[in-house]
Symmetry: C2
Subunit: 598 residues, 2 copies
């Protein structure tokens, strides 16, 4: 029997409503007007239409087809959530991927093809790519691109408004750099590019540049806003402007007056720099109304790389954050193990709540950095499992439990995955557990020359799995922001050819895994700081300092699969964790941890 997703008929009907808008194709994107990875409820448009709740996904609806484009992290979830909706899964980031532009360029017989989208939620870059594909296929005049800002407003009657949470200006002593210094640096960068001003739309870049945070998006401490940095001023377009506390060096303006302001201020900008990867198409059209082509300069924002290179203060903060977080994690793991062994009925959801409660009292805590993945047994086979509030699985005293959780603190952001063997494990579980761990250690131990990009060392985390004919479908590591998004560019450690070298000061996760559908999932994740390790006649060499401070359970490790160097590293790591945490843990937890780290 085919399983139907709950409310699948609701979603099938919404697809029909969109078809009735009368376009040949409608694109519904998973992002917001700021190119965000995580979005406020107002922009969960893909979820509203399709029921799919994964963080990455775009829909295309034509008269004869409805498709969701998403990557391997969400294949299983999409399969479940789309069942019965008539929406088909189009896998992305796979070797034979057909992207949305390519698919649209190949789908239609009749011309012109009329394709509609919400230009607020499409980057300039994505529309340029689309247009190129359409032009190649249908020729100029063979297609029409129709920008309908807030297109879903007419159908989605209870659509949430744009949020506005309290704005928090950060204590600049904790940041290592003042807003003034950051703005001066940016103006210098602009000058080098022959530009006077820059228009910023990416929320994480604005948050970093202004040393400001908000709570407009779950798990992402940003303020929904735009920023115009001119040679003299930083003009911040923000919602609910009257309630935003004033600071000396930022001019506040209303989010809604952007268009007027662009017109008014165009003369003080000189040439304007914008990043087409995050600027939305609709706003770009506004800008092009007031700025001549020669007055605009498109390129990747220099803030992205600069923000990823953590200064000394930020590095210190990260170290502290992982120790604070380690105390909560160890207390949590202790509680979970002893409770389940004691016969308590604990669900995945209960466990996540417990962890959250342990973190809540930490000084400078500012919330979770993503929804805790608390997954027992087969549920952990979904790399991005969402632990349900109702009816989550009971954690039993056998097999493997996975917790992937992180928090924001005023002094850093954390992201840790730990496995807890709850009792008897199978031989395969132990082998997988060990091989994944081996991969994490091998990459942690890597030393590499200046200029090396993540994709050039990603294999080190996979080699042991590959040798056993195993693999995992997601990246090995992502950058992590400083009290900012838990996913941060420009670097990445994955198979994709991202040319960005890994540089001293970058903070990244290392999180190999293995997923056996219907059985279990395993992931070990530490966060590391890239540092200079060596300087020789052959150049500079970099390596990683592990920031995460939470023991790794070695009880089910298959010793023979590890070499001496790996075994030594693991023993030393647990020893350091115990030494760092013992005086901060409750006595019974410290005793328990001492045993675990032996």
């Amino acid at each position: 029997m085919r399983i139907m997703a709950e409310n699948s008929n609701v979603y099938a009907e919404r697809v029909e409503e969109i078809r009735r808008l009368g376009y040949d194709a409608v694109i519904i994107s998973g992002t917001d007007p700021h190119g965000s990875e995580y979005v406020a409820p107002r922009w969960k448009q893909v979820e509203w239409v399709s029921g799919f709740t994964g963080e990455a996904g775009d829909l295309v609806i034509t008269k004869d087809h409805a498709g969701l484009w998403t990557d391997s992290r969400f294949f299983i979830q999409a399969g479940q959530q789309l069942a019965g909706t008539g929406i088909e899964l189009h896998p992305t980031r796979v070797p034979d991927e057909v992207t949305i532009p390519d698919w649209l360029a190949g789908h239609f017989q009749q011309k012109p093809v009329r394709i509609a989208f919400d230009g607020l939620c499409q980057s300039v870059g994505s529309i340029q790519t689309l247009e190129k594909a359409l032009r190649n296929s249908y020729g100029l005049g063979g297609y029409e691109l129709i920008d309908v800002p807030d297109m879903l407003d007419t159908l989605w009657t209870k659509r949430p408004a744009i949020p506005h949470s309290p704005v928090e200006w950060l204590d600049e002593k904790l940041m290592g750099e003042t807003r003034k210094e950051k703005l001066a640096w940016l103006r210098g960068e602009m000058q080098q590019k022959g530009c006077g001003a820059m228009f910023l739309t990416a929320l994480d870049e604005i948050a970093w540049l202004l040393n400001v945070r908000g709570q407009d998006i779950d798990y992402n401490p940003y303020v929904i806003s735009y920023l115009l940095v001119t040679p003299e001023k930083a003009i911040w377009f923000v919602r609910n402007v009257s309630e935003v506390p004033d600071v000396d060096d930022v001019v506040l303006a209303d989010y809604g007056v952007l268009e007027d302001a662009l017109e008014d201020r165009k003369d003080e900008c000189g040439r304007l720099f914008i990043d087409p990867a995050t600027l939305n198409y609709h706003t770009c059209q506004l800008i092009e109304k007031y700025f001549a082509e020669s007055q605009l300069c498109f390129g990747p924002s220099p803030v992205i790389l600069r923000k990823a290179l953590k200064n000394k203060k930020e590095q210190e903060g990260f170290r502290r954050a992982f120790i604070e977080d380690g105390v909560a994690m160890e207390s949590f793991l202790y509680w979970l193990e002893t409770s389940v062994k004691g016969g308590a009925q604990i669900t995945e959801w209960d466990a996540a709540q417990k962890l959250a409660s342990l973190r809540r009292d930490i000084e400078g805590y500012r919330g979770e950095s993503f929804a805790t993945i608390s997954a027992y047994g087969p549920n952990a086979a979904l790399p991005h499992y969402v632990t349900p509030r109702e009816g989550s699985a009971l954690i039993k005293s056998r097999g493997l439990y996975l917790v992937d959780a992180g928090a924001h603190f005023l002094y850093g952001t954390t992201d840790t995955t730990r496995m807890m063997p709850m009792g008897r494990c199978t031989r395969q579980e132990k082998e997988d557990y060990t091989l994944v761990l081996k991969g994490m250690v091998d990459l942690t131990l890597a030393v590499f020359p200046e200029g090396t990009a993540g994709c050039q060392i990603d294999a080190l985390a996979r080699r042991a799995l590959w040798a056993a004919g195993r693999n995992f479908g997601h990246g090995t590591g992502h950058g992590i922001g400083f009290y900012s998004g838990v996913h941060e560019g420009p670097q990445a450690i994955r198979q994709n050819f991202n040319p960005q070298p890994l540089l001293p000061g970058m903070v990244s996760s290392i999180e190999p895994g293995i997923y056996r559908e219907g059985k279990y999932g395993i992931r070990h994740e530490n966060v590391v700081l890239c540092r200079e390790q060596d300087k020789t006649e052959f150049g500079r060499f970099f390596g990683f300092e592990t920031l995460t401070c939470c023991h790794i359970d070695l009880s089910i490790v298959r010793r023979k699969l590890l070499n001496e160097v790996e075994r030594d590293w693991l023993r030393a790591y647990n020893r350091v964790v115990y030494r760092m945490l013992k005086n901060r843990l409750a006595p019974e937890v410290a005793r328990w941890l001492k045993k675990k780290c032996r």
Copy 2:
């Protein structure tokens, strides 16, 4: 005292002669009309002008500057050969590389800039890239590109003619595929692209497709020619056509009548497919005279990948070639060691001659696949050392000797580098020797999923060196043709982001190294065949079979730097080499090898 290269004044004068041609810039490329890596004497134009003999290099001469663009393999050599000529080295394949187009685009103040080149020796692709850079910088009308075919003819009075050596049609039983089958396959490919015909200019592609070989270029068994494959015919434009033996399925035509033939035959071609990476600019202009734009289709030649996927017969041939070659190599190494120990005065050149003489009698031998690198001590620090006929170094009974040599056989092509410790070695020599060897073994042992490209596993060969703050500046491995070029695409194992996955049937070298200028150089090189290794629920996994059959000296290996798996592999490898070769070696060589392989 600055060392002047021999004849540096001759080269300085030639640069002046080129300046007197009156252009703002002259580009002299290191390739020939067929985009070859290695060229016949006629096209050694860079050497004639500058004295630089490296296989990769392009010159740019302006009124105020003369520069040679080459990569790290040739930095030391270029430094020596250019001394006193006034020609400066511009490094390529380095992080801050400034390419010729970028350099030319940034160099001139006055417009229009008049840039001349020999269009026969520039690919369409390279001129497109140049034109784009110039247009961005100087604007349309701000530059002029002047194609002067055979430009140097007026200055280079003794310039050699285009060579024509005997043509050899190969025994198709040795190839696994007939010319007819290959042409049928290519016509199928063309049909899929909506093209009727293909015009081929790359000599290795023509040689593969027609099962034909020649000796027009040193070490490269090609016939200088063009090939037009129409739906019905294969028309081969070749020099000295009257002396080329006839075959049924190829129409012979003279190399010189290409232009007329293109005009005559354009109607039978339909849409014509050409690869802009190897087609020269001058010939492309001819084609565009007779073919409308809509009749031309540019793209990468499908022959490149197809040729790299060796069929079963070719794989068998390679195995045989490496065994035959191994017999010569072992006999050579035995001779060298015993002679030097016995007090004989042997130079690097003598050694290379000895090796050549040992190969000469092998059945099916067709010459060396590149100039043997026979290098003792500090000379081996030049990765592409050219052993001089006169005055080459004496091989002494201490330190390290490097031999990098290969041969063509009717049944395959070889390429092997072996190190021979001639007596006492320093601690650093031993350590470097071991770390480089460790890298070779680690990459050989790699297992990787379908879709993996060389740059994604290149680090496995470097990890051990990196960990010790060491590295090497060249790629780790190149493809190898079947009785064809010893450098073959499309795959490569190196840091560069070449997206071509490694596929079963590909033959590649694995040759990490380390170079300490003024001291010594170390390189260990085996050739491997990519094969399917495993198929699991996680997909297909590939690995390598080692083809090279020549022992690796383990006497100076620092055991502690290797793990058990690596030690086991090396012991097993030497055991297999001995077993495969013992009955084919002279008794005293077999006895010697037995000891070496213990």
